[in-house]
Amino acid sequence: MSADELVKRAKNGDSQALDALLERHLPMVYRFVSIRVGREHADLDDVVQETLISAARSIGSLRAERDGAVPAWFLTIARHKVADHFRRTPERTEALDARAATEGPDVQEIVSERDRGRRLRDAMRQLTPEQEEVLVLRFVLGFDGEQTAAITGRTVGATKALQHRGLASLEMLLLSQTGEWR
């Protein structure tokens, strides 16, 4: 069944259609939340759940007239839930850092890997919101150029320009942090 048909039925109270709509967008929401809160974060599942529950309860507000409106709607809700999460529980890294100082190479490797991810996420947050949005859609969520343009409501050319500027800024930010980013 098409996404449009699912949305239409879900808005008319069809619980099976609503369920299918949520399940279809769960992987996208999961990847989006995981890049924001961290893939190992204990609250990752909770934030995804909150996003889908909120989506289910506000399905009546979904306007799916244009292409890309449905994923854009889910991502907007997810963005708000991630913001709520950070208001409740600011990022904490001290405990693992302390363990890394005293324990073996396994923990150090985890910390090192995690630090690379954290640096990348920090650099992403310093991009303009438009650049960050395009990079997430393209390279984290796997949308192609036309889909990204539809979701963001921009032309393909404008999306492409944002992508290139975003990647260039990201490289500069990572280089300025550590002198190398690879």
Binding site: L141, G145, L170, E171
Partner: protein, 185 residues
């Protein structure tokens, strides 16, 4: 678009992709089960999250209660003593007396008494016992006002006394009519 990336851009894109993680089948099942359970259950927290909604709901409840109470009291304001609604009429009057100021309370008693005297005249020819009870209850209201009169200021006493005199005339007219009906019976 992806194939137009430079090697450096491609490497960054790959790292970005690795930042995120896909849900396992177990994760997906667990999340969907929790979502289904939550969606099926009512959502009081969401419903009352915004304070204005709570205020609006409380206001609506109060309005319904007030409207209902006013409606009931209005419907019972003409109830006769042989009707069960007469007790409601009396209770409603007592409620109004409780919240009124002293002088307003005395004026209300006089108003309740006069309403009974007028009503007694209307029903005297067909329901003598109701008419008599109405006159008695109206007289009781006037007696209470006469007892309380001294607790009011001089100006208020004068004002209430004038109304008492008018109510006394209504009482006499009602009693006369009741007596005439008795004579005719």
């Amino acid at each position: 678009m992806s194939d137009e990336l430079s090697p450096t851009e491609q490497e960054l894109a790959d790292q970005l992709s690795e930042l995120a993680v896909n849900p396992s089948a177990v994760d997906r099942d667990k999340i969907m089960r929790a979502v289904r359970t939550a969606v099926r259950a009512p959502a009081p927290a969401d419903r009352w999250r915004r304070p204005w909604r709570l205020v609006a709901a409380a206001t609506a409840v109060v309005l319904v209660v007030i409207t209902g109470a006013v409606g009931v009291l209005a419907a019972t304001s003409q109830a006769l003593p042989d009707s069960p609604a007469y007790n409601l009429r009396y209770a409603g009057e007592q409620l109004r007396l409780v919240v009124a100021s002293p002088v307003d309370g005395e004026q209300l008693r006089i108003q309740f008494a006069r309403e009974r005297f007028h009503q007694a005249q209307l029903v005297a020819h067909e329901n003598r016992s109701d008419a008599k009870r109405l006159i008695d209850d109206g007289s009781n209201y006037l007696d209470q006002t006469r007892r309380d009169l001294r607790s009011l200021s001089a100006d208020e006493q004068g004002q209430v006394q004038n109304q008492l005199n008018q109510a006394g005339q209504d009482q006499k007219a009602a009693e006369d009519q009741l007596n005439q009906q008795g004579d005719q019976g």
